[in-house]
């Protein structure tokens, strides 16, 4: 018997006034899987993640996380999930320790001091704990945001461009930490990204979105084979520029 999906979207639609951001997508993510949501700007990735988080109410269709329908039943599961994005910040005047304390208590983490010390060790934050969050570099702030996202040891972790604006070394470091976390905790990870290297390295499944719809959904190797490309960046460009569609039509 297979486990129920960690995240399940069924005919999910989001319309903002006259703009359709998400146009009836369906997918299910197995527990412990790591999946990328790919797509150009305006493809509907962020809106999809926001609906999974319960931040946005779907126009029609359903999305469930760990069996709880979002956003209606979100308080059943919010303590079991978390989110990180460079576009959502933490209070800049608070120190790193103060921010992590606040979020640890919001998520009901026992032994707050121990958990912060543990994360500080793992994410190389020990020296930064008593510095104001707003005075850190973007790489340091990303590590702090990651610590916040892992503070409750989430079973479901959503990431929106987790390595945007990071230098290659720091980005690689973040990816290694995410892979390790998933390996140790068996967490389900869904990440929206424009970084194809990141997706190829981390993800075992790629969902490609365009204009609010899912246009492809497969393992990276299968996508490369199907599009006859050497890397996901070329696949992405094929999809973005409609070359995949014209090739299919020709065939």
């Amino acid at each position: 018997m297979t486990s129920p999906p960690a995240i399940e979207a069924a005919r999910l639609v989001k319309v903002y006034k006259t703009t359709t951001a998400v146009a009836g997508i369906s997918f299910a993510l197995a527990p412990g899987s790591i999946t990328a949501l790919l797509g150009g700007n305006g493809a509907g990735k962020t809106t999809t993640i926001a609906m999974i988080l319960g931040l946005v109410e779907p126009s029609t269709g359903q999305v469930a996380v760990l069996g709880a329908r979002m956003p209606r039943e979100r308080h059943r599961v919010l303590h079991r999930m978390n989110f990180e994005s460079p576009y959502v910040e933490m209070p800049r005047r608070l120190t790193v320790r103060q921010n992590l304390k606040v979020f640890a208590r919001l998520y009901g983490v026992p032994d707050v001091a121990d958990r912060i010390a543990e994360l500080a060790g793992e994410l190389d934050l020990v020296e930064l704990l008593d510095r104001e969050t707003g005075k850190l570099s973007s790489g340091q702030r990303t590590r702090v945001a990651l610590a916040k996202a892992l503070i409750n040891r989430p079973e479901v972790l959503l990431l929106d461009e987790p390595t945007a604006s990071l230098d290659p070394d720091t980005a690689d470091w973040v990816r290694a930490r995410l892979a390790r976390y998933r390996q140790l905790r068996g967490a389900t990870i869904l990440l929206a990204s424009h970084n194809m290297v990141e997706v190829e390295r981390l993800c075992e499944r790629v969902i490609i979105m365009k204009k609010g719809a899912i246009v492809d959904d497969d393992a990276p190797a299968a996508l490369l084979a199907r599009y006859g490309r050497d890397n996901l960046e070329e696949v992405f460009l094929d999809v973005a520029r409609g070359r995949g569609e014209s090739r299919e039509a020709a065939q």
Binding site: L55, E57, E89, E132, R185
Partner: protein
Amino acid sequence: MSAGPVHARAAGAISPARIGAMVARYWYLLRSSWPRLLDLVYWPAVQMLMWGFLQLYISQNAGFFARAGGTFIGAVLLWDILFRGQLGFSISFLEEMWSRNLANLMISPLKPIEFVIALMIMSLVRLAIGIIPVTLLAIAFFGFNLFGLGFALAAFFVNLLLTSWAVGIFVSGLVLRNGLGAENMAWTIMFIFLPLTCVYYPVAVLPTWLQHVAWLLPPTYVFEGMRALIIAHVFRLDLMLQALALNVVFFAAGTFAFLTLLKSARTSGALMQTGE
């Protein structure tokens, strides 16, 4: 990354721990900035001194004001409870918008009611920091002891605070739904209460039709009650009970508006974009 679930108590009913976390968050912010602390005292002190000296001047030249000593200073201090109570609530909320932290809170287990309770507690804390020193200044400069009003002060205080929270909840909902474009409402909305609730003059001064409007607002009863106490030395319990009844309606309406605006923000996607 060691094993073990770390979220045993996160779900369930209203959580004092989550409320405490939010209060701690605002307290960390407040104590990290002396200009923020100074700002809480500065304007109430300026206002109290200005009105206090004006009253001193008038009372030396008019018999009525000689008898009604303290009404202006009392009005200033009570008005500040109303105004600063709402501002304390709304500014704490705005801090989340300014720091772009709202989405982090909205995806956490924090419930709207816990958020509102934390904002009410912070409103009280900010009010205490601002009003207590100013009240002591009023004693030192003008011999007016607000604490000397005893039980009446408690009745005034509770009623004014309830109105300020009801308005603060409503304004926070507006900002949540419309972004920082609605921020000005947080700073100015309470000023409509200044003429209508008759802070510095009796309700009888207003045109008859406007008196009906004034009596729909809970603070009107408090300011009338304050004048009755200082001028006629009578505590009007009836006025306080009417204010309380109206406050229940205001509070329920403010909470309903907040929850409706929050739901609307979820529908419109406003929670994702908490800027302008």
